[in-house]
Subunit: 326 residues, 2 copies
């Protein structure tokens, strides 16, 4: 800024006024300052690329489902960071379909987004290599990239699920179910692994009928719970793999005579009033951390891709502390 | 398509293959078909503007808060319609700040979106007139435009709130509170008007202390409820003006000894299990109707702007059927 002021023959305060579009500068002075800025290649902090390109920057955010409440705080956090950098947010969802993810990502690249934040549906992102080489900064969030090296910001799904299952074991449960999302989804696989680890730690064998993986559609989850509870030796506790599963399990257990313990992965609005014990992720922190990482990349920070894992927190509220029935 | 086929000297099937990027066409034939398409200005149905411009279409969606669960199904519905028309969704939120709304809308226009869907924070949209004249189709949703003629898709806030208050009156309540959002917000004002109409219909006077309008921040709402319930002649029922208000009121009433009836505007996930009576809007239908209207405009349908109002539905679940205490 000093160089700009010297070249334009004005004070620092005047340069600041022009840069921040504040009043009190004559058109002639403003022109001189702008010329000095251009000739010196001056940039205002983070907005480097925006100013360099002379158009509004934008970043693409590819979610799994815009309507899933988990992505609300995550999206808002990404938007806040983007806004602080003067960038717009282009949003879309994959509906958990790898083909649709790829189509959307490439459409965003064709629309020349400056960067991408992706919650991947697929497990092979080599299709992104040409774009990344061409300079599209990319950060994966919630789930890592597949078959390419890329930044990723994740929650500790393994550790969270392990602590949830250990919590149920500590309350006396031995027959514990895990109901999760499709196993090809990284978080679903990690949470299953956490559940298995806690059971192994306690020396408990897992019956195949206690594990149910698949769509989180209410009908699928409801049928899985019903089948488990109708078994001759039914499970006495359930670890629900994500917020969509938890909501359906809670509805089913509310209509159930026998008390069944429940720990859900992801916090849910009003779960406090319903007494649902959860393993909470910080969705806003996931979004914020990923967006900050993306803008550091856009500012030209060049370092090897790395994976950041955020902690989860077990919040006991009653449902996870119910003792085993009968 | 016939004209294209004739000009390129190929069959209809070949034109279809080229347009839909299917295999089985030699590069030379493909080039001839493309040239014929260009010279004739051929367009594929809805994607008219996309093909005409030779780039991916995009529409801007300006919400109030990306993290508010009410906007989840609305956004997803808009995305589904946009996707069916081959368009991307650019999303942003105003945080209920008219200045930020204007800034975001103009940034989207500068980024050359084809159309806009706006949930307005402000009440003067004359700033949009040059953009609309320049051809940016605009549909307002949830709240109407201010001081310009524009398409709008709304819920029946007045009728919904009136039926909610009438429901409480029918269950014996006379001292009924209304806790709502800032009165400059159209939906908040309409819901207040509906509450006043129902009270007037029943010949009930409203004490000023029963009406509280302002931010939906939990602290503000909690203080309002606490003050109302601490009055010498406290209200026996509450009509909550939106989902953010309802969540806080439910939390407060859960810790309250005296039973207080509650009807909330907007349905909430798990409200069924908590027995919360609500006036439900169809958020997905709002988004879908607005997006379909927008794409009809983009397809060149030219007719006077109009306002569409969608019905609400009162869903009794217990909290609205509690009789007056004492």
């Amino acid at each position: 800024m000093k160089d700009v002021a010297a070249r334009a023959g004005v004070g620092l305060k005047t340069v600041s006024r022009v840069v921040n579009a504040e009043p009190g500068v004559t058109p002639d002075t403003e022109r001189r300052v702008q010329e000095a800025i251009e000739s010196l290649g001056f940039r205002r902090n983070d907005s480097a690329r925006v100013l360099r390109k002379g158009r509004t920057a934008s970043i693409g955010l590819v979610l799994e489902d815009l309507a899933d409440p988990f992505y609300g705080p995550l999206s808002r956090a990404v938007e806040e960071v983007a806004r602080a950098h003067g960038a717009l947010l282009i949003n879309g969802s994959s509906a958990e379909d790898p083909g649709r993810e790829q189509e959307l990502v490439l459409a965003l690249c064709a629309r020349r987004v400056d960067g991408l934040i992706v919650i991947p549906a697929g497990d092979d992102h080599r299709y992104l290599e040409p774009e990344i080489k061409a300079g599209v900064a990319t950060v994966f969030v919630d789930r890592p990239a597949g078959r390419i090296e890329a930044d990723a910001v994740l929650s500790d799904s393994f550790g969270g699920a392990r602590s949830g299952a250990a919590h149920l074991i500590a309350h006396g449960h031995r027959r514990i179910a895990f109901i999760g999302d499709q196993p090809r989804i990284h978080t679903a696989a990690e949470r299953l692994r956490g559940y298995r680890a806690a059971m192994a730690d306690a020396g408990l064998a897992i019956d195949d009928s206690w594990v149910s993986l698949g769509s989180t559609a209410p009908e699928r989850v409801r049928d899985a719970v019903a089948a488990m509870l109708a078994a001759p030796e039914p499970v006495t506790a359930i670890l629900a793999g994500n917020n969509r599963v938890t909501v359906t399990v809670v509805r089913h257990l509310a209509a159930c005579e026998r008390p069944v313990a429940l720990v859900g992965f992801d916090d849910i609005e009003l779960a406090d009033l319903l007494g649902i014990t959860v393993i909470a992720q910080d969705a806003a922190a996931l979004g914020r951390t990923a967006a900050e990482r993306l803008f550091r990349r856009l500012d030209g920070v060049s370092e090897a891709p790395r994976q950041v894992t955020l902690d989860t927190a077990l919040i006991p509220r009653g449902s996870g502390e119910i003792p085993p029935a009968g």
